[in-house]
Symmetry: C2
Subunit: 332 residues, 2 copies
């Protein structure tokens, strides 16, 4: 295992230390618990947005805490849900009097712990609601999930619900736009190489030197199938066919595109993939409104990528374009 | 070779295609030549900034073309200098009447080709000057370099000279601040794994499973030595000692920090490293003014990272803080 770490059991603690040292103007940590909040939390008169999940997907989710996106992120152990306690403390810390929305990626453990925290907060009299992101079209049900998994499309939910909350909208309104994103966003990914959870010390699965896995999950959960590596264009064609036919996306639709690296894929290759994505959309007369290329929802040092497509209307375009200022997502 | 590409000989062309498709509001390409310029180039009354180098270091340099940073980037073949023709066309395309500054990373081929282009432009009567970035403290002279190599510190030159140019300063003034950055910036890196140039098809060097290379260059040029992998904190201590003692950085200095991933290193690990960097600077009573953690100057899918430290004064702080809006570097 080649990693730039110290004791494998300390990676999350030390990562948080480095995160806080890097971004003191954006972030602070709650005392005695791993919850990262906006430095100015709670923001009075604004719906609080809380997300989180296992660590190892950075910049998700702490990198999205800041103006116009999240109010708090709860990082669990690597690839492990945060605890109900973490989420409960996050809710309390960001409740600015207009309620709190939980943005949950659809994994059984995450849903269970977020909902437990939600109940704890509701018993305290706080107004808390939730949305569950399930954008991955690859497989129905998976190692740790009932239904579809939540992957990089979650970042669009953070961005758009975050912009709506920043406007001062009600919890109901923020939830409505989050649900609109979820209804219109689809993703699918693939991997060339596995990744290694530090405490495990060895890869969670193996792939032959000439093999790739299509439809893989962000924790290395099995996808739809394995096959010999193909040229990038053929891989993109396959993923795009699954994504486009799912909603389906149609002629004259306007979409946002996210080409997301899983950790070890060079930006060069993500752009090679985006070229083909843009070509396919053009052929189908689907208009690209905005494109994001980079690492948004990673899987440690996995090599591979995912494509996310979000169908936009005027409201979503305005919210997508709104200003955001967080460590990992800035938009002027 | 596991890569998300098509024909290895097409990677640069296809990357540029994907880049233009992703960022049409920021970038355009000159006809018939691989030069990426600001969409609104030439900006009248502003010094034009031109950089470039071999491809494979993305987001450097095309990702830094935009408001408050570069006016043009010339991507060469992978790990290969751009041609004098590319650079000459870039100079012509961004000359807004106040002259053009070339920002060159110190590699013999780059310096030669940028200087040839500069002479061609000067013969046309254009006002062109240059700065050469040589921030890598690891080794004096190297495989492709006389003197010290230019690495991630170059991004601080782009940012600060870019901000000065955006203010409308003269060529002489823009060059002065660029030189001030170069005089005050130092970097050093290390690698856990090599990278593979697509057209070569195999890694340019090898490292044993328990081995790392300290002081490596961004093309895999040899560093100072190889040794068994150590804990991240010990690696950071070694790099920081070399960097800090070089300028040297002293008590009460204020600095900007850049923790730069070389391609395959998870953001989690970069933050683990930053934690130790911040600790060392605090112990030495050197004040961290601002920290950047991410992938700024990569080496394809190399696993490893570099640390860059820039000593700041009031002028550099103001310019570092100035607004920037480019595909890969945004600052509100």
């Amino acid at each position: 295992m080649k990693k730039l770490i110290n004791n494998p059991n300390d990676v999350v603690k030390e990562m948080i230390g480095g995160l806080l040292a890097a971004h003191p103007s954006y972030l602070r940590k709650l005392d005695n618990i791993d919850v990262i909040v906006r430095k100015d939390a709670p923001v009075e008169g604004k719906v609080g947005l809380v997300s989180g999940g296992g660590s190892g997907h950075e910049p998700a989710h702490a990198g999205y805490v800041g103006y116009g996106m999240l109010d708090a992120a709860c990082p669990g152990a690597v690839f492990t849900s945060p605890t109900p306690d973490q989420i409960y403390e996050a809710i309390k810390a960001v409740d600015g009097g207009k309620g709190v929305l939980l943005i949950i990626k659809n994994y059984t453990g995450d849903v269970m712990n977020f909902e437990m925290a939600r109940e704890m907060a509701q018993m305290d009299g706080m107004e808390v609601d939730e949305v569950i992101v399930n954008d991955d079209v690859a497989v129905e049900n998976s190692t740790w999930t009932q239904g579809r998994r939540g992957i990089a499309g979650t970042v669009f939910v953070h961005k758009i619900a975050g912009a709506k909350a920043q406007e001062g909208a009600s919890l109901q309104e923020v939830k409505r736009v989050a649900e609109k994103v979820i209804a219109n966003v689809r993703s699918m990914g693939m991997a060339l190489t596995p990744c290694t959870v530090p405490a495990a010390g060895k890869p969670s699965f193996t792939l032959a030197e000439d093999e790739m896995e299509i439809g893989i999950g962000i924790h290395g959960e099995p996808g739809t199938h394995r096959e010999k590596i193909k040229p990038a264009d053929e891989i993109v064609e396959h993923l795009m066919e699954k994504i486009i036919n799912d909603l389906p996306y149609k002629e004259n639709d306007e979409v946002a595109v996210m080409i997301n690296g899983l950790g070890a894929t060079p930006l060069m290759e993500l752009y090679v993939a985006n070229r083909k994505v843009a070509e396919i959309l053009k052929d189908k007369k689907i208009k690209v409104y905005k494109t994001y290329v980079g690492e948004f929802m990673t899987s440690l040092e996995m090599s591979g990528f995912s494509i996310t497509i979000l169908k936009l209307d005027e409201e979503l375009k305005t919210l997508l374009d709104a200003k955001a200022d967080t460590p990992a997502f800035k938009q002027l």
